[in-house]
Every structure is written in structure tokens, then in C-alpha cells.
Amino acid sequence: MNWHDVTDLAGSILLFAGAAVCLTGVIGMLRLPDVLTRSHAATNPQTLGMLLIVAGVALRLRSGVDLGTLALVAFFQLLTSAVAAHLVARAAYRTGQVGEVALLRDELASARDRS
């Protein structure tokens, strides 16, 4: 049992864990009631699941160019998912699809009324 086997097994375990995290995020998408809470559930596969998958692929492939490509994949995914989530949450608030009962305090309301 040399180190190739060990990294292969570790990569497989990371890939399986990443797939499980993706599945939990999708279950959250199905069960949560609101756009904002669904966006909260969607964050989990977009960051943790994607990072686990990319780390697993990197441990299985183990070559320089592929590591660079995978690092770029992780970087761009982390960069762009925040932009998309922000715009979706903003549109949900502006079109009134946020349940006010679920919010204890709506601190954006005063700014929205002033604008």
C-alpha cells in the first residue's frame, strides 16, 4: 500500500462527501418555504460541495496543469455564486416575496421607504 493508493482512496472519500453535501443542499431546496431560505440552502453545495469535489478530483488526477484548472474552477465558483445570490435576494426583497412574519426585524424597510 503505497501513497498512490492512499491519495486515491482519500480522493474517493472526498468525492463521495461532496456528492452527499450536494444532495443535502437539494433536499433543503425542496423542504424550505421561502426564496431566501432556499437561497440559504443553495449556498451549501455551491461552496462546500464544490470545494470537496474539486479537492477529490485534484487528489485523483495529481498533475500540474489539472491542479491549476481546478484551482481556477474553485476560485470562479466562489466569486460568482456570491454575485448571483446577492442579486436573487435583492430581487426577492424588492418584489415582496419575503415573508415578513418570518423576520423578527426588517431593517431594510426604512431604507426602502426612504428611497
Partner: protein, 120 residues
């Protein structure tokens, strides 16, 4: 050792396919377009995960550039929906009863939102 690798990788594929099937349910009956926008974001992540598991099983790196392109451009669809479609879309089913007070001045908000776009 090889058996454990095969079980883990094929199990990961099964989990990803199951997650995609459940995600189609959410896209089918998401009450608003914003729910579908979030779902499409997760669909891009699931495609990335599937390509990654495929690359790990076959040990080929031909499709990694496709992963890069999807990670880079996957957010444009949901940005377009949130910016241009969701303002027009008014779903009939609202999640909580408290949104009625917000719904009243929806039109005023929308006009302000579009008016603020014309300013530089």
C-alpha cells in the same frame, strides 16, 4: 482497495443523479422565477460535480476546461432572471401571509426601481 474506490465513486454518481432528479421537482413547482434561478445555480454545480466524478473515474482531464467554463458563466442566467424577469413575475402563491402589506406598494417599488436605472 479498488473495490472501495469503485463503491465510493459510483455511490457519488448515484447521489449526484438523485440530487438532479430532486432538483427537477423544485424547478417544476417553484412558485416564482427566483426559485428557479436558484435551482439553475445548483444545477450548474451538479453538472460540475458530475464532470468531476467522471474525470476522477476515467482519470482523464479533457473535460476540466468545461468545468471551468460552467463555473465562470453559470451565474449569468440567474443574474438575468433576477434583473429582468423577476420584476415582472408575480406568483399567485405567496409563502407567508405577512407579505400582503408589501404587495400593496409593489408597483411603486417597481417604478422606482426602473426609474433609478436611468440615472447614470
Amino acid at each position: 482497495m479498488k473495490l472501495a474506490n469503485d463503491i465510493l465513486l459510483n455511490g457519488a454518481l448515484v447521489l449526484i443523479v438523485l440530487a438532479g432528479a430532486l432538483l427537477l421537482v423544485r424547478i417544476w413547482r417553484g412558485p416564482s422565477m427566483l426559485d428557479r434561478a436558484v435551482s439553475v445555480d445548483i444545477a450548474a454545480v451538479l453538472i460540475i460535480a458530475g464532470i468531476g466524478v467522471n474525470a476522477a473515474i476515467t482519470r482523464t482531464s479533457y473535460y476540466l476546461s468545461i468545468m471551468l467554463v460552467i463555473a465562470f458563466l453559470g451565474f449569468t442566467s440567474s443574474v438575468a432572471i433576477a434583473r429582468f424577469i423577476a420584476a415582472r413575475d408575480r406568483p399567485g402563491i405567496r409563502p407567508r401571509s405577512g407579505v400582503i402589506s408589501l404587495k400593496k406598494d409593489f408597483k411603486k417599488d417597481l417604478m422606482k426601481d426602473q426609474g433609478s436605472k436611468e440615472r447614470p
